[in-house]
Symmetry: C3
Subunit: 138 residues, 3 copies
């Protein structure tokens, strides 16, 4: 059984967006000797998140962000003086970690699934950690 960690630095470009980081995570899994186990993706921030969803039609991501903006409006009644409470709340709703299976050396994503970084208070450099735990055989 082996553990491996890799850091990804991702530069976001706007205040609120989603960025497809599937290729970077797949690359970490591909470079590892682990054939069977799990892959945990975590983000070390409180106004960003990671999630798994459709990577085919970009309109899906637009609809996700627009709906979150209605649920957690920028002009809501917030006390936190920095003005980024909506980003904190969206981060909690979306979540800051994702876990996937690794089987036969490959990440267990469904056909339409991609891994996304959600930026809710950018643009910034965001730090993502990919942790793999598993067996070199199997």
């Amino acid at each position: 059984m082996t553990v491996a960690h890799r850091d990804l630095g991702i530069d976001t470009r706007t205040r609120t967006e989603t960025l497809d980081i599937t290729a970077q995570v797949v690359d970490v899994v591909g470079r590892s000797e682990i054939r069977s186990g799990i892959c945990v993706v975590t983000i070390a921030h409180t106004t960003a998140g990671v999630f798994v969803n459709e990577n085919a039609d970009p309109d899906v991501q637009r609809d996700v962000l627009a709906t979150l903006a209605k649920q957690v409006p920028d002009d809501g009644d917030y006390r936190h003086a920095e003005g980024n409470s909506p980003g904190h709340i969206k981060s909690i709703l979306v979540g800051t970690d994702v876990t996937l299976a690794i089987r036969d050396g490959k990440l267990g994503l469904g056909r339409w699934q991609g891994i996304y970084l959600a930026e809710f208070d950018g643009p910034r450099r965001r730090h993502v950690t990919v942790t793999l735990i598993g067996d070199a055989s199997g």
Copy 2:
């Protein structure tokens, strides 16, 4: 330390519903030799999710679905042409993976907790993976 994966195929019956899959996951844990570790349940879809919640009163599940439908209405302002943007968004809010402890060979569910598959764009056959990592002793 051992890793084991099992696939579950779950047929949903309506457009939007929750299905209790606790028995299937408990069965996977029971058939495994792993006595101490974790159990990760992932779903390979972008309009479905998995979550842990009450498995006693079915009204809870009805209230969950009704509240999600208000937060993410079917007639919202969506661009994604397939018409299932609400399903994608609910999937992100609910999440596509759940992790539980395994102790003394048993799944670490609380007294009232069950594991649910959330269908947000059915009916369909859905694919769930149960991954166990842990020790045969302990």
Copy 3:
């Protein structure tokens, strides 16, 4: 590779609140021999949750709870007779498990991140499990 589980009993004080449990989780990691791996925090309840978010300004937690209360109002149209449907729904939205990396024997939290227990139907004694999987070296 080693697995360790620790139980935390947390007494909440009001109906709805968030409690910073970072110190307790950091203590579990610090007492363990595991230097590289993951830390999984799960809560065994259906009207509570665990999440990672800002631990600096308490106004953030107030804004989180106020926004969740608007999204899932106490006076909504619920059928569940116990009256705690909002708690169940918030638990699903926030989630009941969090996974973090362990590197060099330390929990992989970002600079502003803390681990929170979310109480949505208190006050009660809540049971949290911290599970560590990893290597004593590395």
